[in-house]
Every structure is written in C-alpha cells, then in structure tokens.
C-alpha cells in the first residue's frame, strides 16, 4: 500500500482520538481515546520504518507500546482512585484545583 | 395449601403469590452486592438458601434462609401414634436414619418405664454406629467435592454401599429402616450377618485410611481448610453446636460416653476424638477419626453381643403414660433429642425435636462474617448439615 494511505489513516485515527479526548468526560473513555492517538502514532512510525526499510520504526513502535501500557496502568489507577473517592468518573466533576 | 381439586388458574395465582415471597425478605440496598446462594445451588446439599451481602468477594453479612424443606414434623407427630412416628422421623436426618429413631424410642421408653433387653440394646448400638458410618462417609466425600476434587465423592458412594447393604440385610430398609420398637427391636439379626458386617467394617477402615491420605493429606485441601471458619468452644456452645463440631474445637463431650441413655456404649472400649484447632480442617479430621472409631466399635459390639430376647414385654397397643421426658443421643450430626409430652394417649401431646443441624447452622451468620466467597463453601461443608435436620 501507499505510504500516503497509511499516513492518512494515521491522521484520521489521530483526529478521532483528539475528538474523544475533548468530547468525553468519562475518565476511562478518555484513556481509550488516548490509546487511539498513540496507535495512530504507531502506524506512522511503522509506515516510515517500512518506507526507509529500517527496523527503527518497529523499535520506536515497541517503545510507544511500552509507554502506552504504563500510561494506561497509571491512568486507570488514578481513575479508580477518583471513583473510590467520589463515586464518579466524570472528569467534569473533578476540579481538584478548586478543592 | 395446595389441596387437591383446585383448578389450574388458582394454582397459578397461588404460585405467583409464593413467588413474591421468594424475593428477599430483607431489602438491603447498599453499594455491596447481594448474592443468593441457593435455594437451588450445588453447595447447599439441596435447598438451603444463603443470602450473602458481599463487598467484593468478602462477605459483609450472610444469612441462611431455611424452611424450603420444612415438613411440619412436630405437628404431624401430634396426630400419629408412637409406632407411626418412627416411620416419619427416619426422614429427619435422611443419611443416618436409624440414629433418628433411637432417641425417640428411648424417650418413649423412659415414659413407659420399660427398658429394652441387653441384646436389643447392643444391636441398637451397632446399627446406630453403622448409620453413623453411612452418614459421615458421605460427608467425607462431599466436602472434597465442594472443594473441587471430584473423585473422592465417588469413592464415598462406592464404599458406603457396603454399609447400606448390611443395614438393609438386618432391617430390610436400605435407607429408612424403621426397625426400632418401643421395648426392643423388630427382629433379630439374620444369619451370617455378623461376619459380613465385620468384612464391611474392614473395608470401611481401608476407606478411612485412603481418605486420610488422599484428602486429609492433600496440600491443597489443607490450604483450603486450615484456619478457615474457626469456632471458639464457648461461642460454639452458646450457639448450641454439638457433636463433631464442638469436639473439633476441643470440647471433650460426647453423649455416647456422657449421656445416661440405655445403650451399650459404656460396655465397649473406645475413645472420644477431639481436635484443638476448631477450624474446618479439624472438623473434617474429627469426623474421619470418628468414622474409623465407629468401625472398631461395631466390631466390638458384634463380638460381645449378648444372647437373649430382643423385645421387652410391652402392650400391643402402645399407650404411653402421661409425663414428660427428654432423651438425646450423639447422632452423626450432633446431639439429637426428643422432648415428649404425653397425656396417656395413643399419640404424644407434644413432641419437640431437637435436631443437631438446626443449632449447628445457627452459627453461620456469625461465622461467615468477613470471610471470602470460596470460604463460604468450605465452612458450610465442614459444619455438615442436612436440610431435613435443619428444617424438620
């Protein structure tokens, strides 16, 4: 397939992810949207890796996957903590700054 | 009451009304989860229902709901003659049927002031112990199957047949002998029975050895049972726990040894097993030892069987003189007693049945507080109840 196709698909997924982050107020769903964004990035990495015929793309993708896993782990832990404390995972209601 | 003759619609209306009651009596609405275990659930030996409020997998509160097997024995006993009652009370603890008859007959004998001849007492005791073996064997297998090991229960069923054969050979009833009579027994033992029974006892001893190794010796079984469901002796007694359940808590009390009923226990050599731990493992252990002990007792009883009649002189139509009497024996499940109030009629005026499982189970709300769901099963299984014995 064309490099362009891949990159465009990545862009579309990225934008969908951005929409999700902005529009959703459920913490878990926001994290899912972030996963979409990271996967869009991965697609680009792999596409460029294949384009340049190097495995560096894969290596970076692996690192991104690792980071994503860590991010989800911590993120969900925070969401769970919010839930325990507030009985809600609605991010709009969480104004930690306001106290 | 579903009297015969009501039409279909009435039936359905009736069922609908009953369904309303099947709902939880106590409305609990917290954020915890309420879980119904039973009335139809593999862990409840039939029809106990356990309503457990859970926090995660931890039990906040558990309450048994009974009565799914309530048949109204005490009321029915008031409209049946004494010999008819023994037919009925066989079915209270259906695993050790013969053992149910004995305390009732003993109570009635107390009131009538008759005593069975020695031979009858010895045979009674032997059959009593046989029903104990038949009963507890199944517990030994069942507890294993509740903990997930499928094979032992099959072995229990297999070897239990040897005992049932002997009970059947002597009494004619595989399950519900109805063999005990006021003043003695229905029949003498058949020829060759003693030798066969001794062979069966040999097999049961093998069975006990096998289980000691296969189940008690299993690391996973120990891990699942040790320290689970600990009953302190004083709490157990306050809740009315009896039998192996308190002996596993270190209470050295056995009605066979300590009771004053007319049975042959004081004339043979045996010991009472206790265990200091009071946990599920101890209960299993004590029961296993008692089963083995019972096989030795049966051997001794059969060796020392005195000759003589098996029936004392009693009138053909039994009218029990007025009075009150309570007789209790150490049944497989614990203390079982009958409090008979007689007014000199063919039927008892009032029969209070003290069944072991009812009291044994009354500790469950206390015991289950704070345990984890898998341990519910262990504790229920190790307390060993029989629904008929709870609900009567």
């Amino acid at each position: 397939m064309l490099l362009n196709e891949m990159l465009l698909l990545g862009a579309v997924l990225f934008c969908i992810g951005v929409y999700g982050v902005l529009a959703r107020r459920n913490g878990v769903l926001v994290l899912m949207s972030i996963e979409l964004i990271l996967n869009a990035v991965n697609i680009n990495l792999i596409a460029f890796g294949a384009f340049h015929d190097t495995v560096v793309g894969q290596i970076f993708a692996l690192f991104v996957i690792t980071v994503a896993a860590a991010e989800v782990g911590i993120g969900l832990a925070i969401v769970l903590l919010l839930y325990r404390n507030r009985r809600s995972i609605d991010l709009d209601q969480v104004d930690l700054m306001k106290g | 009451m579903t009297a015969s003759g009501t039409d279909q619609r009435q039936q359905l209306a009736y069922v609908a009304a009953q369904a309303a009651d099947a709902r939880l009596n106590v409305e609990i609405e917290t954020e915890g989860m309420t879980l119904n275990i039973g009335p139809q659930h593999p862990a409840t030996h039939g029809t106990l229902r356990l309503v457990a409020r859970l926090d995660g997998e931890q039990v906040v509160e558990a309450e048994p709901i009974m009565g799914y097997m309530h048949r109204g024995y005490e009321k029915l006993a008031e409209v049946r003659t004494y010999p008819q009652i023994t037919t009925l009370i066989n079915r209270i603890d259906w695993l050790g049927s013969f053992a149910n008859e004995v305390p009732f007959i003993l109570a009635a004998e107390k009131l009538m002031e008759v005593e069975a001849p020695p031979r009858a007492q010895w045979i009674r005791t032997a059959l009593f112990e046989l029903s104990r073996i038949a009963n507890i064997t199944l517990f030994l297998g069942d507890m294993a199957v509740q903990l997930g090991a499928v094979t032992p229960v099959f072995m229990a069923f297999r070897d239990r047949e040897f005992v049932l054969n002997q009970i059947e050979a002597a009494t004619g009833g595989r399950f519900h002998p109805n063999f005990d009579r006021i003043g003695g027994l229905k029949d003498d033992l058949p020829r060759g029975w003693i030798e066969d029974t001794k062979q069966a006892m040999e097999k049961m001893r093998n069975f006990c050895d096998e289980f000691e190794e296969l189940v008690l010796g299993n690391e996973i079984f120990q891990a699942r049972c040790r320290g689970i469901g600990i009953v302190p002796p004083e709490v157990g007694l306050a809740y009315g726990l009896s039998g192996a359940n308190v002996r596993a808590s270190g209470v050295d009390w056995d009605l066979r040894r300590d009771g004053q009923e007319a049975l042959a226990y004081d004339q043979i050599d045996w010991r009472v097993w206790t265990h200091p731990d009071g946990d599920s493992f101890a209960r299993y252990w004590v029961r296993l030892q008692e089963t083995r002990e019972a096989t030795h007792m049966v051997d001794q009883l059969l060796d020392g069987l005195p000759p003589g009649p098996i029936m004392a002189k009693v009138p053909r139509i039994i009218k029990v003189p007025g009075g009150e009497a309570y007789a209790a024996t150490e049944n497989p499940l614990g203390e079982m007693g009958y409090y008979i109030v007689s007014k000199g009629d063919l039927v008892p005026f009032r029969v209070k049945i003290r069944s072991a499982s009812f009291s044994n189970m009354s500790i469950t709300p206390w015991l289950l507080k704070g345990v984890y769901v898998p341990d519910i099963i262990t504790i229920l299984a190790s307390l060993y109840f029989i629904l008929g014995d709870i609900d009567r």
């Binding site: - | 009451m1 579903t2 009297a3 015969s4 039936q11 069922v15 009953q18 369904a19 009651d21 099947a22 009335p39 139809q40 593999p42 030996h45 039939g46 029809t47 009565g67 799914y68 097997m69 309530h70 048949r71 109204g72 009321k75 029915l76 409209v79 037919t87 009925l88 079915r91 259906w94 695993l95 199944l138 297998g141 229960v153 099959f154 229990a156 069923f157 297999r158 239990r160 047949e161 595989r174 399950f175 519900h176 629904l387 008929g388």
Partner: protein, 166 residues
C-alpha cells in the same frame, strides 16, 4: 425457521434427533430430600453409574440441562423456585418426579407445608415411586424416559405440548 417445529422434518432426521437426545441427557441435579441421596448414588456410585446410559450429571446451571429430576419433598416455599428453574431450562426438557413426596406428598400427605405432587406445577414425564426409590428404580425411570424420547414426535415436544401417554 424451525423445520422441526413445523413438523415437516423428514422421518430419518427426526429419528436421528431423537436418538441424540436419547443418549445425551444432561441432568440437572435437584436433590431435595432423602431421594437426593439415592439420586446421588445413581450418579456417584459405581454400582449404578447413570453415566452408562448417557446421562451426564455435569451442569450446575439449568441453562445447560435437559432433564431435571425432582427428587424429594417439595414444600410450598420451594414451589416458586422449582417453577422458575424449570422454566429457565431450555426446551426440549424433561422432568422425572422421584419419590412419593414429589409424586403426591408421600408421608407428609397431611402436612401444612408440603406440596402434594409436583405435577400440579410442572409437567412430569416419568414418575418413580418409592420412599425413597431404590437407585435401580431411578435407573428404570431413566430408561423409560429414554424409550419415550426415542419414540416421541419432536414437533409435539417442541411446542411443549401435553404429554400423551400411550
């Protein structure tokens, strides 16, 4: 949809279907009282071994069961649950009523809390008499049930229609 339900299934097919149901009866254990132990013996004791006949006593949930053996005393308090769990079994389903209590109330015929016969609530295919019936009696009941399954018309059974005894 529902070739068999419409009754248009060819004869050899219904024969085959009957055979499969006949030899694969997953039995939902409903032990209520004394009879439950004899049912347990039928399942568990090598002397009786109901699995020989193709009766598999595995399912713990009614959703996977074909046969329910109501074994023992049915009380008025229990009846709603029995009705519900019976209905929760998927069709085609069969019922064996085991023991006098389930058949008609048995020794508790005059009790205030015992239902006199489970057939007032759910349709029963085979009655096994006895108090409790010996394991052999239950085995015979199962063989009778298998005979009936082998000869029945699925179209009728699919509708859950009344059971015709001939």
């Amino acid at each position: 949809m529902g070739l068999v339900a419409s009754g248009k299934a060819p004869k050899p097919l219904t024969k085959l279907l009957n055979l499969s149901r006949k030899y694969s009866i997953w039995m939902y254990q409903w032990g209520l009282a004394c009879c439950a132990i004899e049912m347990g013996a039928v399942i568990g004791s090598p002397r009786y071994d109901v699995m020989r006949l193709g009766v598999i006593p595995f399912p713990a949930s009614p959703r996977q069961a074909d046969l329910v053996v109501i074994s023992g005393t049915v009380t008025d308090k229990m009846v709603p649950s029995i009705l519900r769990l019976y209905e929760q079994m998927p069709d085609p389903k069969y019922v064996i009523s085991m023991g006098s209590c389930a058949n008609c109330g048995g020794p508790y015929w005059d009790s205030y809390s015992v239902t006199k016969g489970i057939d007032q609530i759910i349709p029963v295919d085979v009655y096994v008499p006895g108090c409790p019936p010996r394991p052999e009696a239950l085995l015979e009941g199962i063989v009778l049930l298998q005979e009936r399954i082998g000869n029945e018309d699925p179209a009728v059974r699919w509708k859950g229609g009344p059971i015709v005894v001939d």
